[in-house]
Symmetry: C2
Subunit: 449 residues, 2 copies
Amino acid sequence: MQFELTKDFLSNVSQAIAEKDNLFIINNIIDLHPADIADVMDYVNLEEAQYIYQHLEEEKAADVLVEIDEDVREKFLESLSVKQIAESIENMDSDDATDLLQDLPEKKQEAVLSEIKDETQTSDITALLNYDEDSAGGIMDKEFIAANVNWTVQNALELLRRQVEDVDQVYTIYVTDDNSNLLGTLSLKKFLYASDSTLIKDIYRKDPIHVQALVPSEEVASVMEKYELVVVPVVNEVGTLIGRITIDDAMEVIKEEAEKDYQMASGISEKVESSDTVWVLSRARLPWLLIGLTGGIFGAYVIGGFEDKISEFPVMASFIPLILAMGGNVGVQSSAIIVQSLANNSLEIDTIAKKLIKEMLVAIVNGLICSFIALLFCLITEKDVRLAITIGISLISVFLYAGLFGTFIPLILNKYKIDPALATGPFITTTNDVIGLLLYFLIGWAIYF
Amino acid sequence: MQFELTKDFLSNVSQAIAEKDNLFIINNIIDLHPADIADVMDYVNLEEAQYIYQHLEEEKAADVLVEIDEDVREKFLESLSVKQIAESIENMDSDDATDLLQDLPEKKQEAVLSEIKDETQTSDITALLNYDEDSAGGIMDKEFIAANVNWTVQNALELLRRQVEDVDQVYTIYVTDDNSNLLGTLSLKKFLYASDSTLIKDIYRKDPIHVQALVPSEEVASVMEKYELVVVPVVNEVGTLIGRITIDDAMEVIKEEAEKDYQMASGISEKVESSDTVWVLSRARLPWLLIGLTGGIFGAYVIGGFEDKISEFPVMASFIPLILAMGGNVGVQSSAIIVQSLANNSLEIDTIAKKLIKEMLVAIVNGLICSFIALLFCLITEKDVRLAITIGISLISVFLYAGLFGTFIPLILNKYKIDPALATGPFITTTNDVIGLLLYFLIGWAIYF
């Protein structure tokens, strides 16, 4: 069906390049979809990638450059001349062009910008560079089509025929007033039904869903998702239409957000892939390990304080892992549910207090079940009533504490506009370890003595 | 800008309904976007939701029904008559209609199907019901526009004008042969440039990216993402065009997949939201807690085996949490990186052996750093060389073991087509707890005696 990248194909590519077999490249690569060519270039070495790149026609080369993996692209761009980059940028959508430009060192950025001959593109890029890359302005492009509200359908059709070459995909025609303020949209449906002399003002749809340039890109993604939009217009503070955001960019935002949350919950502090170097992987993982280490050391202090009792009742030590495991699991579960609800933008009908009460009830239900099993186990295997009671009460306490803590912390972080995902994973488990141990030994101490 | 649902608005809605203030509903609700009306209906009670629903015109009512939260919808549908549901379904896209129908009890399903008057819709739905809901066929709709390759642009334009009412969004016109086999697509660009008498065969684009009806929906989503498609045609085994999948459905697949992985990693076994009942939340969380409990009990056995030594050297107990925390963190990190790489469909250039070697190197780097810190800490606070050596060696061993285990298990699961996300979170931590403890006490035992 579609092209599938295999190891065999890659080794054929390398061999062909080694033998300067241009025919192989022409027959097997240059007609592929840019995303597929980019895939190939991601896996071959830099020299081979350059060899392939040289065979691509200008427009395709630009498309490929957009699609290459960011890590690979950065290195690849170093090997291209300012002129080559400028030519590619002229063939890109303004948002992709801006992204690529931002990958370059500042000096090269300026050089490339001054080399671009298409003035609209230069001014579009300059405008886009002003926006934060996590805002609507940072992910929009300038390739929209706008028709004046006083035009006829005939006028709009002519404009469309003229502009359509610049715009990869026409999703909607925007309708603006004389000051370029966004008034509405012209649906293809209405457009195809209308006669040439129909006035746009008579058939356009008013008050389209739109976003402000400064809102965070996540908000854009959730608006597009909620209203099932493939494109959304972007306006500035006074309502002037300044760009559009297409669904592929929103999808990327959603994916990155989900990946970030997942990595945070798993104790990984930078965006990494399994193909990254050992050094990058180690560095991304070390911070949370050090937090875990600190937690472990605090834990050692807590237990150290009860060393005499452990000598006397070493069986207390046996149940440390049980207490830690349950506290950790409960805390992670609670925080994950909260983080995900927050990410889905559910309306906060419930107050924090109400959420905590609900979490408490869940903790009681599951805590009772688990405590009862653990208590039975202790009674049967250890035949020690005091120990069984200690374990039972400790588990319930840990469930309550861990559940409430796991619910409370992300809610509080969110309230103060800090990413609640920070509170998941290792952070919750580490804190819960220390508090859980303290609870366990204090309860044990109270019961045994 | 857009409608924003607030608590105040909701209480106004409830009050208006209590007072049978139809004017409020008409002025403030019925002109909202269906997704917003659905939001309101998600939060009010069943009677109130019905009250609002009655005020909606037929087409909007159908759109709202599509958008309502699944849990709410199920209850809401119970309160609608077979006739009401059938009428709504006639106004839906075939994929939404099929989804809704699947929410009904079997008996009502049949009753509704036989009540639908639009025969095309009935046959479309019957066709769609045959597909697994996680396959391309299960998420496609039948509202595509196809033009015969032998037609002129004029013919296609007429068809488009006629059919466009049925199709919410026209993204692409598909080109088929006399047997309805998919040949290509007609881009809007070419279409607008061409004269009316141009033959479609002269301007269409051949070999479009397409998917087979039986491929998993995740594969569809990744194809659409990779090639930045807003719509993809679906064909059956012999190449007949049978449907199309739009980007909103692919986006939903991606989101659900990411949420599922996240919940799995957090030890939650069903899809839940913080607004679910205590009972649903407890049930979703219990399975992994029981696994953790079992792990804790095994841990108790392991430590129990060394009780004599703990009586003698109670300081050994103090470092149990440290060992557990590090093993847990390392295991979760490793598995998360693998799971995410697998989800992103990166080409498996590296063999499993190569991945394990890389993970081993990462474990050595971070293990050495953490062990060294822990060892120093032991030496300084406990002034016990044997203990320090025990902790140092144990940590390195745990890092190696946990890292390799966390890498290996998801890779193996994936190889046997089992969801690798199963191996993340509590499963990894629980296993690592037991093995980590065993390593720690065996190493301690070897060094102390």
